[in-house]
C-alpha cells in the first residue's frame, strides 16, 4: 500500500511493505506502532527511536501533537493523489481562501469592502473574543470576494466571514 502524507505543503511518500517495514522516501525503516489504550495516543518506534504522539482526525485530515507542536497532515493513497495531481496547489493565483471565525465573538470592525484589493497581512476583520480584540489578517495578497459579515455582528465559531481570491503576482522574478 502506498500513501502520500502532506505536512506544511511538504509531501512524504510512505509505502507499507509488510508488518514491520515501510519505505519512507528512499529509506527502508523498521517501525512499531502501539496504541495506548482508550486514547488517540500512539507510541511509534522507528529504527529504535521512540516517539509519542496524539493523532486524531480533524476536518478531513489528521492532527498530530508531537513534542509540544501540532501538525496538520493530509493523507492520500497514491492513486487518489494521482487523480488530483493536476489541481492547483494552495497559494497559487486564483486560489480562493475562506476566512472562518476561529472562535465565537463579536465582529467589532470590518475594515475591507467587497472587491477590495488587500495586501498580505492586511487586517480583514477585528473579532472581539475572550476579552481581547483579535485581528484576522489576509494570508496572502488578493481581493475580497464575498463579504458575509458587518461590523457589530456576532459570529459563531467556524462561521464563514469572507472569501479571498489570490492575486496573480505582479512582480514575478524570472
Amino acid at each position: 500500500m502506498k500513501y502520500i502524507a502532506e505536512v506544511d505543503s511538504l509531501e512524504f511518500p510512505v509505502e507499507i511493505l509488510d508488518e514491520h517495514h515501510i519505505r519512507f522516501g528512499k529509506e527502508i525503516l523498521e517501525v512499531d506502532l502501539a496504541a495506548v489504550s482508550g486514547q488517540p495516543l500512539y507510541s511509534l518506534i522507528v529504527n529504535g527511536e521512540s516517539f509519542e504522539g496524539y493523532v486524531y482526525p480533524d476536518e478531513g485530515g489528521w492532527q498530530v501533537l508531537l513534542l509540544g507542536c501540532s501538525y496538520s497532515v493530509n493523507i492520500e493513497d497514491e492513486r487518489e493523489k494521482k487523480l488530483r495531481a493536476p489541481e492547483a496547489s494552495f497559494a497559487s493565483p486564483g486560489r480562493e481562501f475562506t476566512l472562518k471565525a476561529p472562535m465565537p465573538g463579536l465582529a467589532v470592525a470590518v475594515p475591507v469592502r467587497e472587491g477590495q484589493q488587500v495586501e498580505k497581512g492586511q487586517i480583514l476583520v477585528i473579532l472581539e473574543s475572550m476579552k481581547m480584540q483579535n485581528e484576522l489578517r489576509a494570508p496572502y495578497a488578493g481581493s475580497v470576494a464575498r463579504l458575509r459579515i458587518k461590523a457589530g455582528e456576532s459570529v459563531q465559531q467556524k462561521q464563514i466571514l469572507l472569501n479571498l481570491v489570490a492575486s496573480v503576482p505582479t512582480n514575478t522574478s524570472f
Binding site: 505536512v7 509488510d18 501533537l65 509540544g68 497532515v73
Partner: protein
C-alpha cells in the same frame, strides 16, 4: 479562624484558593455561572451556588448576589481572587457593610491605588519616583493631553485610568498619530472598564517590568517577598514571570532599595493583605513606580516557590486578624522559579484565541514542577472568560536548571482539543536573550520570532507524517476488517523491532 469562605471567582485561581482553605480546615463555598456548572471549582468546593448566565456582568461581577449567597450560607469571609471584583472598592465596602470579611485590603486602599493617576500622585508624595506623565492631573480632555504630550516627550503611552491587562493602552511615537490613538484607547477603556478616562506616561525604552510582592497585616507590619521579573509580555499581557529577576541577580543593593520603596508605597495607602508594586526599570537601573495591584497576582506562585511562603494562606490569616507569620529578616529565597502562562491561543497564527473543548490533558509531573489549573478533559474554553488554561511553574537550584526543567515540562504537557501557546514558550526557552536573561518589555513584540519553533517543527515533519500515515492505515485496515469480507484478517500488525537510529 474563619469557618467558611466564599470564593468569588472561577478557574485556576478559584481552585488555588479552595486548596488553601482546605489546607487550613476552612469550609468553602463556590459560586458559578451557567457555563461553569461542571467546572473544577464547583466540584472542589464544599458548597456551590449558581450566580447567573455566563457573561461575567451577569454572574461573577454580580457583587450583590454574591453577598446575598454568602449571607444565606453563613460564610464569614469572601476571597475575590484576581480580576472580576478583586479591585472594586465598592465591593470591598459592601462586604464590610454586610459583616463579611473581604480578604484583601481596605476599600480606601483599593480606591487610592485604583485610580492610576491618584495612585501615582499618592506615592510620589511619599517620596517614590514615578514615571513622568500626567499623574495627578485628574481627567484630561483630548486637547489637554495633546498639549501635555511634548512636555513628557515621545515615545509615550496612553493608558486607561481604570485600566489593567493591557486594555486601553496605546504606544504613541509622535504628535500626528496621537489624536486617533487617544480615541481608540478611550473606546477600549470605556468598553472594558466603563471609564474612558486616559492619562499619558513616558515610554521608558529598554524597560524591564519588575514587581515586588508585598504582604501586610492589620498591625502596620509590611514586608516584601522579593521581586518578580515580568518583562516577557505581548500587548502588555504577561506571558512568563520569574523570580528572582535575572536583571537584579548580581545587584543586591538595587533589589534592597526597590524592596524598601515598595514597602514605602504600600505604607502610603495604609495597606493590609497581599499586594504588588509594579516598577519599570530602565537600562541605567533607574526605577519608577508604575502602579500597585491591590490583590493576589496571577504570578504569585513564583514567589511562593522561591520563598516557601503560601501567599494565599497568609492572606487568609492576616484578613482574620493575625499578625504576619514572618518578619522581613525571616524571608529567605532559594533557587529560581519560572512561570509560563499556558493560554488557548495559536502562536503560529498571530496568537489568535482558540476556543473549543479540551478532549485530553496530561500535565507534566516529577521534580520541581507545579501546575495550577482549572481545566480538565471535557472542559469547554468559552469566549466568556480569559484564555488562561493553566500556569506551569518550575523550580531549579539555579536559573539554568529552571530553564531546562521548563523545557522538559513543556514537552511533557499534552493538551488536545485546542491550540495552545506551548510552542511559544518552547521557543522562548531556546532563545538566547531569554536564556541569558537579557530582554525587556518590548522583546516579544519587536525581536522575538517563532522561526526557531518552526525550525524545530521541521525536524519532526517526517515523524508527524509517518505517524499519521500509520494511524490512518491501521484504522483503514480495521474498517476493512469490520465492514469488509467476514473472516478476512488484516495482514498488518505492528510489532517490536529494533535497529540503529534513523538520524
Amino acid at each position: 479562624m474563619f469557618k467558611k469562605i466564599l470564593i468569588a471567582n472561577r478557574g485556576e485561581i478559584a481552585v488555588r484558593i479552595l486548596r488553601a482553605c482546605r489546607e487550613l480546615g476552612i469550609k468553602t463555598v463556590a459560586v458559578y455561572s451557567e457555563a461553569d456548572r461542571q467546572a473544577l471549582h464547583v466540584r472542589y468546593a464544599d458548597e456551590a451556588y449558581l450566580l447567573g448566565p455566563s457573561p461575567a456582568r451577569e454572574s461573577y461581577l454580580r457583587g450583590d448576589k454574591i453577598i446575598d449567597i454568602a449571607h444565606k450560607c453563613a460564610a464569614d469571609a469572601v476571597h475575590p481572587g484576581y480580576g472580576f471584583l478583586a479591585e472594586r472598592a465598592d465591593f470591598a465596602a459592601a462586604c464590610a457593610d454586610a459583616g463579611l470579611v473581604f480578604i484583601g485590603p481596605k476599600a480606601s486602599s483599593i480606591s487610592a491605588m485604583g485610580d492610576k493617576a491618584v495612585a501615582r500622585a499618592t506615592v510620589a508624595k511619599a517620596g517614590v519616583t514615578v514615571v513622568p506623565g500626567t499623574e495627578g492631573e485628574g481627567s484630561l480632555r483630548d486637547d489637554e493631553l495633546l498639549a501635555f504630550a511634548p512636555k513628557i516627550g515621545f515615545p509615550l503611552i496612553i493608558k486607561a485610568v481604570s485600566g489593567g491587562g493591557g486594555k486601553g493602552m496605546r504606544d504613541v511615537r509622535n504628535l500626528e498619530e496621537m489624536p486617533d490613538l487617544i480615541q481608540s484607547a478611550r473606546r477600549e477603556a470605556e468598553s472594558s472598564f466603563g471609564d474612558g478616562n486616559v492619562y499619558l506616561e513616558k515610554l521608558v525604552e529598554g524597560a524591564r517590568h519588575i514587581e515586588f510582592q508585598i504582604m501586610a497585616d492589620q498591625f502596620g507590619n509590611v514586608i516584601h517577598l522579593g521581586e518578580r521579573e515580568c518583562s516577557i509580555q505581548r500587548r502588555h499581557q504577561k506571558l512568563i514571570e520569574e523570580s528572582p529577576s535575572p536583571f537584579l541577580a548580581d545587584d543586591e543593593p538595587l533589589r534592597q532599595r526597590m524592596g524598601v520603596v515598595a514597602v514605602q508605597a504600600a505604607r502610603a495607602v495604609d495597606y493590609a493583605n497581599a499586594g504588588t508594586i509594579e516598577f519599570l526599570v530602565d537600562k541605567d537601573r533607574n526605577f519608577y513606580f508604575l502602579e500597585m495591584n491591590t490583590r493576589l497576582q496571577v504570578e504569585h506562585p513564583v514567589t511562593e516557590t522561591v520563598t516557601g511562603m503560601d501567599i494565599v494562606a497568609e492572606q487568609i490569616r492576616v484578613a482574620f486578624g493575625w499578625q504576619l507569620s514572618r518578619k522581613q529578616e525571616d524571608i529567605r529565597w532559594r533557587g529560581a522559579a519560572i512561570e509560563c502562562r499556558i493560554n488557548a491561543e495559536d502562536p503560529y497564527n498571530g496568537f489568535l484565541p482558540s476556543s473549543g473543548r479540551i478532549t485530553l490533558t496530561q500535565p507534566p509531573t516529577g521534580p520541581g514542577v507545579r501546575i495550577d489549573t482549572g481545566v480538565y478533559a471535557g472542559f469547554e474554553i468559552s469566549p466568556y472568560y480569559d484564555p488562561l488554561i493553566s500556569k506551569m511553574i518550575v523550580w531549579g537550584e539555579t536559573r539554568s536548571q529552571a530553564v531546562v526543567r521548563m523545557r522538559r515540562a513543556l514537552e511533557e504537557y499534552k493538551i488536545v482539543g485546542v491550540r495552545t501557546n506551548i510552542p511559544f514558550h518552547q521557543t522562548m526557552m531556546d532563545t538566547y536573550p531569554f536564556v541569558t536573561g537579557k530582554y525587556d518589555t518590548r522583546f516579544v513584540e519587536e525581536q522575538f520570532s517563532m522561526l526557531d519553533a518552526a525550525e524545530n517543527r521541521e525536524l519532526y515533519l517526517d515523524i508527524a507524517a509517518l505517524m499519521a500515515t500509520l494511524v490512518a492505515h491501521v484504522q483503514m485496515e480495521h474498517r476493512a476488517q469490520v465492514y469488509g469480507q467476514p473472516g478476512q484478517k488484516s495482514t498488518w500488525k505492528w510489532t517490536g523491532r529494533r535497529s540503529r537510529s534513523i538520524r
